[in-house]
Symmetry: D2
């Protein structure tokens, strides 16, 4: 069993540009996080985008969808910015019926020493292995069906709608 | 839904005694790890032991078993040293049929900046929510049935027997 | 002997706002850094400003100068953003002749796990104890007289002019 | 100006053996720490020993002394375990009159995320640049003449004798 991982960016991968003093995207840290977690799952990582999810376009989502369709694995993890994660989930849910797709992200970049990224990656890889086919958001140790979750903009917490 | 967490010690909770220059057990770091992971699950943490699993006795295992029986929650996570984790799992599996019990540990103490503990805790809490009743070992992003796993003493890796 | 520490902000104290996804200033981390360094010097920390040094005004510099004049200690450390650190040093050097004043900063916020802040704070406190009266910049393990240093904008490195 | 750095081991360089679950010495982390500190000093690092200072022998100290004599640089930093640091300083002080030699160590290994090592290295490199010829202990942000310091075994703190 191999888990396919699609990287699309998000807070997970934000780095600090020490010359300019700003946050920016360079490359993904997913492999590094898996190494720290001593993860022994077979994973196949493909970077589709490395960007802020507020800048994610319809075109970007189409490419994510196509890659989900095309891949032969039926367990997929997508790292994604939290702001528009649910929108992307909706696009996928419309077409993807026969795979388990888990979207996850981070509230704090991995490069900060208090990041939640490694915890989220751990729980999301577990959900990808055990949940039935469908599209899910995995945050804060919980999983949500794509159509029963919202991000509370004030607390940053994901919560069930009903 | 509440997940019951029983702390028994293990590498997770090893600290460095800066006066004596040795590793020792003081208190559990589970709450701290969950806070870093921004975990929003309802959990109820009870510390049963904080010791090296090589020093775990039959009496200790009996107490773990009794606590598993007594607790009303049917989703249980046990933090445990990796050396004798499988022995404890066996004791539990003989009596516990109607709960999901996940044992996990760490190869590197949480207080080291390269610890796998937070990753393991993330995946184990996910497994506790999604796996059917039974007793499992969760390490390296994977889960194993209690009777189909061994710890490879040379690599430190958990692997299936068959 | 007490070392007076004036906090004015800078990269040292940048934090990550996990709701908005941006860097911001909240409070200083100087005490926390000194605690991690097991620093046993007598220090007296006073926060004057917590801001980006690009936004430092003439008025801000006047307040820093007045505080340097007013304090009875003759060993002063100032934490400051690196972009305009040299400008502030110049303002101080014009009036302060009978104290040792060391300005230091960080290229990477303390909250990142690869921060240079704790190293800089260590060397700057040592320079404050040992250098003769004057105004100095302390970065990258080195010290510079205030009138013989520039920040190389491309490399982020402080270097001697001559 | 180049600062000579002699590595002799000590808590600085203790690592965690994840298979055996114990602390051990592998190699020095000095270069790594200097890189994190964005140190731009010219340094020349030579590893003499990588061991616990409780196991340091007369022979070891003789080798440290000979290296101090032989090196052409007159600014020397020695990383050393804290338990017998003062003994080594005494051996050096008997023969070395025309160099500035600073011994430093760590209470917490660098690989722990709360290590004081990087702070100590920062202040020690500053002391090596600014103190007059002599042999010094640098710990906790302070420097001590070799013959006016003791390690308080209960608090782990270095303090002046008189």
């Amino acid at each position: 069993m191999t888990i396919k991982i699609f990287v699309t960016g998000g807070t997970f991968d934000k780095e600090y540009d020490e010359i300019k003093g700003i946050l920016f995207f360079n490359k993904t840290h997913l492999s590094e996080i898996l190494k720290m977690g001593r993860c022994k799952l077979k994973v196949d990582i493909k970077t589709l985008r490395v960007k802020d999810s507020l800048e994610m376009t319809d075109e970007d989502r189409k490419i994510i969808l196509e890659n989900c369709k095309k891949t032969k694995e039926d367990k997929i993890l997508i790292s994604h910015g939290t702001d528009t994660m649910i929108e992307t989930a909706k696009v996928l849910a419309n077409s993807m019926k026969d795979k388990t797709i888990v979207l996850t992200g981070a509230m704090i970049p991995y490069k900060f020493d208090s990041s939640d990224g490694i915890f989220n990656l751990g729980s999301s890889l577990a959900f990808a292995q055990t949940l039935p086919y469908g599209v899910y958001i995995s945050m804060n140790g919980k999983y949500f069906n794509w159509d029963n979750v919202r991000k509370n903009k004030e607390t940053g917490k994901f919560e069930e709608i009903k």
